[in-house]
């Protein structure tokens, strides 16, 4: 048995990741470099700072010292594209389960960036309704804030068509994505005994009205919760509601490799100088036949109103626990962290009515996730690295908003498993910067009749160097490789199903906030050329034009921003 170049390249990709995981991270930890603190992934930053988060920075242009972090913008990919076909259990079918970035103007959006921003914001003038915020902050104050993550793209494929996402893996390079927007409204108050924060985030998926003429956008509520901060003791916070509950992301690959819960529930956090503990309990009941079945029945009392009866109603319960240790504390200009993470998923048994009128019993189900993250940052070098490892089994291998792929008859997820290793890093020096992200993922579906099938391996690596010609003008080049392999045989080649995609993109941009790989907003031109091998083309339906295109172009103009959203404002809030 021989394996083709694709397998070798995929192996090398995963090898790189494993090697880094096995070696690079400890090395990093052992040789902490002194420096600034702004690029701290998941750094607690101003955890104890009573300042109403980064509202203080709203409207403040950021210098490049505020930019080197790993923000977390979201994506709302086209539903039904090749990437969806291979979408992971982690992402399920709901693309907008991805999340937005955040940050004030010129302020980093991700946890890392937020932390960096928090550090850099110390002493700066705070914005908001209450004016200055400093060590002598008033006992009572209120603030109302507006935040947003957004990207808008207009692109052509240079063949008379619309530029489209051209990826084959679940977590694909963030260069040819479509339009997506989040609007956040936030009310914050300092009370006598604690702070409170009410967050509401409205998400809008493209295409927009001005593109398709449909006066009907795709909407979702992504955040709707109340958080109480410094409850009973400093560093203790509690929240309840609907929330994107996340850690560090990989901006370039648009995913959150370790913790990425989208659910309704609540949580209790405690933040200390050297560690942070977070916990959450959440419920999710997607409207699918695995968890929900509602039937209309005639009323029994003679009234005319039909009655909805829940035949199947079994929300998934998710318990999550995350511990982060900061060996050098959280206030330094350099730092490191070790994260341990786990989830437990549980779903009760139930019955559903089949189309032939019989009742099918669904057994209870459960699963778990375990994972770890090692990270470090050097503020002066605007550098950070995060290495992730995650293993999920059973129900835990499926996103709370996702369901087992074969819901027609799959009634147990016991056989499902997912292994993921990932890397995200950033480094900046003077007028240059580079972002890197990579992952390898192995996923086995749960279908009990297919224990030897529906196994896939996939991975991607994306490198994006930047150069700034002026403080506000720069150019990024994005080079990526992605590969997918499945345990299916292609009928025309007798080779395993799968493919490879190379992608080269050029992004000249204007950054009013200044230099920094994570500084936003950006107004950019985008050109991307995607090179598919034969296997990648075969992943598309034969009727899809992409099935016959070796090269796919994507040229257009777009904008991306993250402004003062609360998802990544500081570890105490995550």
């Amino acid at each position: 048995m021989s394996y083709g170049p694709r397998a070798v390249r995929t192996a090398l990709l995963s090898g790189l990741l494993i090697a880094l995981f096995s070696g690079a991270a400890p090395s990093f930890a052992q040789t902490p470099a002194p420096g600034a603190a702004e690029a701290a992934p998941d750094s607690p930053g101003d955890a104890a700072d009573p300042t109403p988060s980064d509202a203080a920075d709203e409207g403040e242009p950021a210098g490049d010292e505020q930019t080197s972090a790993d923000p977390a913008p979201a994506v709302a990919d086209d539903i039904g594209d090749a990437g969806d076909a291979t979408a992971s259990a982690s992402t399920g079918d709901i693309d907008d389960a991805d999340a937005p970035g955040a940050g004030a103007v010129g302020q980093p959006a991700s946890p890392e960036a937020a932390a960096a921003a928090a550090v850099s914001a110390e002493g700066e003038e705070a914005a908001g309704n209450e004016g200055d915020v400093d060590d002598e902050a008033p006992e009572f104050w209120s603030a109302f804030a507006f935040g947003s993550y957004g990207r808008v793209v207009a692109a052509s494929d240079l063949m008379g068509g619309t530029g489209r996402d051209a990826d084959i893996v679940a977590f694909d390079p963030r260069i040819d994505e479509g339009t997506y927007l989040e609007l956040e409204l936030r009310r914050e108050d300092q009370w006598a005994f604690m702070q409170s924060k009410i967050v509401a985030t409205l998400a809008i998926g493209g295409p927009l009205f001005h593109f398709d003429g449909d006066f009907d956008e795709v909407l979702a509520i992504r955040n709707l919760y109340l958080e109480l901060i410094d409850v009973a003791a400093p560093g203790v916070s509690i929240w309840a509601g609907s929330r994107m509950w996340r850690g560090d992301d990989m901006y370039l690959l648009d995913t959150w490799p370790l913790d990425n819960l989208n659910a309704v529930g609540g949580g209790l956090d405690y933040t200390h100088d050297l560690f942070q503990l977070r916990s959450a309990v959440a419920l999710a009941r997607p409207n699918d036949p695995f968890q929900t079945q509602i039937i209309d029945v005639p009323p029994e009392d003679g009234s005319f109103t039909p009655t909805d009866v829940f035949i199947l109603d079994r929300p998934r319960l998710v318990l999550a626990l995350k511990g982060t240790y900061f060996p050098f504390g959280t206030g330094e200009d350099h730092g490191a962290k070790l994260v341990l993470y786990t989830e437990y998923h549980s779903i009760s048994d139930g019955n559903r009515q089949t189309d032939d009128g019989t009742v099918e019993a669904l057994p209870s189900d459960d699963g778990y996730v375990i994972g770890a993250q090692l990270g470090g940052w050097l503020v002066d070098d605007h550098a950070f690295i995060n290495i992730f490892a995650r293993y999920a089994r059973g129900l835990g291998a499926y996103d709370p908003l996702g369901v087992p792929f074969s819901t027609g008859a799959v009634i147990s997820t016991a056989a499902a498993e997912e292994t993921l290793i990932a890397l995200s890093a950033n480094y900046e020096y003077d007028f240059m910067g580079v972002q890197v992200a990579a992952y390898y993922r192995r996923f086995r579906d749960a279908d009990p009749s297919l224990l030897e099938r529906n196994l896939l391996g996939e991975g991607a690596i994306d490198i994006r160097p930047h150069v700034w010609f002026l403080d506000w003008l720069g150019l990024a080049v994005d080079l990526s490789y992605q590969a997918l392999e499945e345990t299916g045989l292609d009928v025309t080649t007798d080779e395993p199903v799968g493919g490879e995609v190379w992608k080269l993109g050029i992004l000249p941009f204007i950054s009013p906030g200044g230099r920094g790989t994570y500084t936003r907003p950006h107004l950019r031109l985008i050109y991307s050329a995607t090179f598919r091998d034969e296997g990648a083309r075969r992943l598309y339906h034969s009727a899809d034009p992409r099935a016959s295109r070796e090269v796919e172009h994507f040229i257009g103009i777009g904008a991306e921003w993250w402004i003062d959203t609360s998802s990544y404002l500081g570890p105490q809030l995550r």
Partner: protein
């Protein structure tokens, strides 16, 4: 990162990556081998993949869950894998699976679940799984010594195009056009309006080719226009040769089944477009594409659909070329048997003449024996009459490069199939005739073929009612009919004479009333080695009968077993002795099957 870390990482990564593909190791390389020694040893089980077992809900696209049998029901190749133990318990040694290639998914509210609406001969029907699963299924079958015969169609493609009779560039259900088919020309003097309303999807036969028609009359050959409906796979017939109009005969639907020209050159009803198999380029592609499947899957035989709709010359070209190609890859004894849905014994047998195919689906026997004799309790002399026609109507020498058995001895016998109502249709609880018929099917000469669901006493009417999902039965193995079939296959497996022995009829009768021997058919299976079996079946269910007509002034049945020898009924253990005159008077209960073997060969407990 030091070199050890790099080495460790690379090694671990290769392991991770390789373990994805390593799960394909069992299906990456196909080893072609001959799995059959003598096809008469086989018991074929015909199954419609969509109806046999649903092992992979992941491919249940557009599946109907309401029991509407004209729609996809969800069965797949994984289901076959899952249910191989069931087939083993039944005693099946070969499965004949419905077509595997991509079909037009739906047409007029009917689905292509059966596989006879092919649109791409090189791709698989995704409703049934992928190539890996299909190979895994075949490998699993071979591991259990179960052979796999694939159903193929060379006569037609699915409804890939329409005839644009009114030249408006769109398919119309009801347009003016056509002429009385028996004349095909208005100058023939037939007193009928030359204007008929026809459908452009499936117009009636016209020997000149379907003609365009305007308000002023005919306008020359109607152009064809291929559909472009990828959502239901109704586009781009493949291989690409089938995207040319010259690859089709373009004469419209067969309406006169006694007209040989129409039968050969006409479209099959339902708009299935007749392939111009006379064209050598077309023949080359059909040989290539179907031989390729053998070599890619290690198939053991073809069941060929609609034999009589293709000219003899095609079979004389196709059959030897396929045999030659697969033999070159190491596959001998590759079975080619076909379906000529006709009661005309000479016509059916004609496809087995030298240079053609190895065997045919024995439709004349289905009509004259299983229906007339076993189902309707007609005279058993029909068995003998039909048998006596065999040397005349069927090939008597093995095909060159074929299965090594003359067609006369290798006919594929069946009680019912997917194109006719089931044997029990109309009398679902009357198992006696069915069991008697099964007794004959599994002891007569030739190759028995059992239609799936027979063992579960399914009783569906005509298509699609006769294509019930087998899971409706719960795959029960304790039913009376299942156990009867399983027992008969065990007995057939143990006694070589029942598989390979010559067929000698010892008793038939035209008496169907209260007579002593009414309903009796008795025959021997003998081999030069001395292997011997005597079978007697009472095909009627009203009274016991005997292999004797002594009450009518006749004698008892003469047998080939030595005078004075003892025979044992392998089903009951009863012993009988051949008289000194070499006769045997057997009492056979209503619908009973008796299988007697020499005492020395008796195996107890079967």
């Amino acid at each position: 990162m030091d070199r050890y870390q790099l080495i460790f990482g690379a090694a671990a990564a290769l392991t991770l990556s390789a373990c994805v593909h390593s799960e394909l190791d069992d299906v990456r390389d196909v080893e072609i081998a001959t799995h059959v020694t003598d096809w008469r040893d086989e018991v074929i089980y015909q199954l419609i993949v969509d109806r046999f077992a649903d092992g992979d809900p992941g491919n249940n696209h557009r599946v109907d869950y309401t029991g509407s049998l004209a729609r996809y029901q969800g069965g797949d190749w994984q289901g076959v894998i899952d249910k191989l133990p069931y087939l083993e318990e039944l005693g099946v040694t070969t499965i004949w699976i419905s077509p595997i290639v991509l079909n037009v998914d739906a047409d007029a509210g009917i689905d292509g679940y059966h596989g006879y609406w092919q649109i791409d001969l090189e791709r698989l029907n995704p409703h049934f799984g992928d190539l890996a699963t299909l190979r895994r299924m075949i490998n699993a079958c071979h591991d259990k010594d179960i052979k796999v015969v694939l159903d193929i169609v060379t006569n037609h493609m699915g409804q890939a195009f329409y005839y644009d009779i009114n030249l408006n560039g769109q398919p119309d259900q009801n347009v003016s056009g056509g002429y009385p088919v028996e004349h095909g020309n208005p100058s023939s003097g037939v007193l009928r309006s030359p204007v008929q309303h026809v459908t452009e999807y499936d117009p009636d036969y016209d020997g000149r080719g379907i003609q365009a028609f305007t308000s002023l009359g005919e306008a020359g050959p109607a152009p064809i226009r291929f559909f472009d409906m990828p959502d239901i796979f109704r586009n781009d017939p493949m291989p690409a040769i089938f995207q040319n109009d010259w690859a089709y005969n373009l004469r419209g639907r067969v309406v006169d089944w006694n007209n040989r020209e129409q039968v050969v050159y006409g479209d099959f009803p339902g708009g299935l477009k007749d392939i111009r198999t006379e064209d050598p380029r077309v023949r080359d592609e059909l040989v290539r594409v179907f031989s390729d499947w053998v070599l890619r899957l290690d198939l053991d035989g073809f069941r060929i659909d609609t034999l009589k709709h293709v000219e003899y010359g095609f079979w004389e070209d196709f059959a030897p070329r396929v045999r030659e190609r697969v033999a070159a890859a190491g596959k001998d004894n590759f079975l080619l048997f076909g379906e000529a849905f006709d009661g005309d014994d000479a016509l059916v047998g004609s496809y087995t003449m030298p240079g053609r195919i190895d065997s045919v689906f024995y439709f004349p026997q289905k009509f004259r024996v299983f229906d007339d004799v076993f189902r309707r309790e007609g005279p058993t002399t029909k068995v003998e009459e039909l048998f006596n026609l065999r040397p005349t109507n069927y090939g008597t020498i093995p095909q060159a490069g074929g299965i090594g058995v003359p067609p006369t001895a290798a006919l594929v016998n069946f009680i019912d199939n997917h194109d006719v109502s089931r044997f029990l249709f109309g009398a679902p609880d009357d198992l006696g005739p069915l069991h008697a018929a099964l007794g004959y099917l599994l002891t007569e000469d030739g190759i028995p073929c059992i239609y799936y669901g027979t063992e579960q006493a399914f009783a569906g009417g005509n298509d699609p009612s006769n294509r019930e999902p087998l899971w409706w039965s719960g795959y029960a193995t304790d039913g009376e009919t299942f156990r009867w079939v399983a027992r008969l296959t065990r007995i057939r497996r143990e006694y070589e004479a029942l598989r390979r022995g010559d067929f000698i009829i010892r008793w038939t009768t035209d008496r169907v009333g209260d007579e002593q021997d009414a309903g009796i058919v008795a025959f021997e299976r003998t081999m030069p080695s001395g292997a011997y079996a005597l079978i007697a079946i009472n095909t009627q269910g009203r009274h016991p009968s005997e292999t004797s007509a002594s009450s009518l002034g006749g004698g008892s049945m003469g047998v080939g077993a030595p005078a004075g020898s003892t025979l044992v009924d392998v089903l009951t253990g009863e012993r009988v002795t051949v008289t000194g005159a070499g006769q045997l008077n057997l009492l056979v209960q209503p619908h009973q099957t008796r299988i007697l073997v020499p005492e020395a060969d008796f195996i107890d407990g079967l």
